[in-house]
Each structure stands twice: as structure tokens, then as C-alpha cells.
Symmetry: C2
Subunit: 135 residues, 2 copies
């Protein structure tokens, strides 16, 4: 059986990364690791490691993404909760077999990682991401 | 300077703990540690440790709490993000000095822990909890 190892990150949608860093970095003291353009997610993402997890500040770079719609409709806030698993393909198959609705049929592959989302309808309203480190 | 150590927990508001455990425990495989009545939060809370953090499923036990209003207005979902700090009183003073708005003036004390909330207006829409282990 596939296993969840830890919370990989909590993603927070923001309208302005520099402005957000005033709270998360300057006030809270969580150090910024780097900011990365993630075209597949139509987002600019700031990574702030804390303990074994990260806070990710996600700023939409296009108007037509889920993240952009979230920001327009609800304003900034927690967007999704990501769990690191040892085997994402196995985990997805097991969830599917248990009747859980997935957003992705196959994982999205980026260098060093595979990701997939679970539909909030199956989680009680939480957008859950599954994440496997592949490097 | 006070320091954040890790994500202590992510709190998820639910309408039914048993129903929610079907996803979090049975499907995702995150083991339930225990369920606890927390009268000071007017909630029943299920604790599911994962790595160095926890997922907390929070079910309102009264209609007049913030959590109950959240559930009535938005349905279930992520409610707050809690960071464990080494010294909550120091952290609160530092945040206040930096212009961050706190919900609690002094920490809420329970056996083994002190907690306080930061106002979402100062965080970009995230209800942030600070938590110090005192035992």
C-alpha cells in the first residue's frame, strides 16, 4: 500500500509575492528559499521551507487558471494541502479503487517530482495534492 | 527573536468526523490518534499525526462559534494553519511591533500548550495560529 510521508507544503494564493513576504518572511521569520516561475501551473511560486514542510506563496500569472479564479472570487488564502507519498501512481490507484474522485487521471510530471490533485468533493472541501519526489 | 519550528497542524472544518475519517483515515491511510472535545474552541477535534505535523478535523459543537459560522457559510474545508513557535509571548510581541494584527492579546492557555491567532487581515487571508508546547 502506498504511504503518505508528510505534509510537503501548504499553498497560499497571493496577489503580490513581495507584499506577502512582508508577513511570511519579515514578520514570521520563515526564510524564502527561492521564487520560481511554474508555467504548467500558470503561477509564480515562492518557496518558504519550515521544518520538513514548506509554505508556498502562489501568484497567478494568467487570468484563466484555477488559482486566478480562486483569487478573484475569494481573495488570497489557503488554496491546497499537499502530501508527499512514496508512490503516487499506487496511491492514485488505491484512492480510485476506494471511490475517491481524482482531478488528474495520470500524474503531472516535472523534473524531480510528480503531482496530482484529489477533487475537493471527495475530501470534504479541501483541495488535496499528492506529490512524489522522483530525483 | 522567537522562532517558528514547524507546521504544528492544518485544521480542516468538517460537519461529521466519522464521515471525514472515511477519506482521511480509510482512503489516505493517515492514522487517527484520538478524538477530543475542546470546549474552549466549542469543537470536537480528531487528531491525525502525519510526519512532524497533524491534520486536525474540527467539528463545531455549538452554533455560535467562528468554526460553526465558517461551516455554515463556506462548507467544510481548510480553516487555519498552525505554526509551532519556541516562545509564543515573544513571537506575539514581535509581530505586534511589526504592525501585525493579532486576534488574541494574550495566549489562550490549555494544559501542555499555549495558543493565539493572527488576524487574516494581516496575513493575506490565512487564519494563522501560533502554538507553543509548554509541557
Amino acid at each position: 500500500m502506498a504511504k503518505i510521508k508528510k505534509i510537503n507544503h501548504v499553498a497560499v494564493v497571493v496577489s503580490d509575492i513581495d507584499e506577502s513576504l512582508k508577513f511570511w518572511q519579515d514578520a514570521m521569520g520563515i526564510e524564502l528559499h527561492h521564487v520560481e516561475d511554474v508555467p504548467s501551473q500558470k503561477s509564480m511560486v515562492a518557496f518558504l521551507p519550515i521544518g520538513e514542510s514548506e509554505v508556498e506563496l502562489v501568484k497567478p500569472t494568467s487570468d484563466d487558471s484555477g488559482v486566478a479564479k480562486f483569487l478573484a472570487e475569494r481573495g488570497g488564502g489557503m488554496h491546497h494541502l499537499c502530501f508527499e507519498v512514496d508512490n503516487i501512481v499506487e496511491m492514485m490507484a488505491e484512492l480510485k479503487a476506494k471511490g475517491v474522485r481524482l482531478i488528474n487521471e495520470v500524474p503531472n510530471e516535472l523534473p524531480g517530482r510528480k503531482m496530482a490533485f484529489v477533487h475537493p468533493k471527495s475530501t470534504g472541501g479541501v483541495l488535496v495534492e499528492l506529490y512524489e519526489v522522483t530525483k
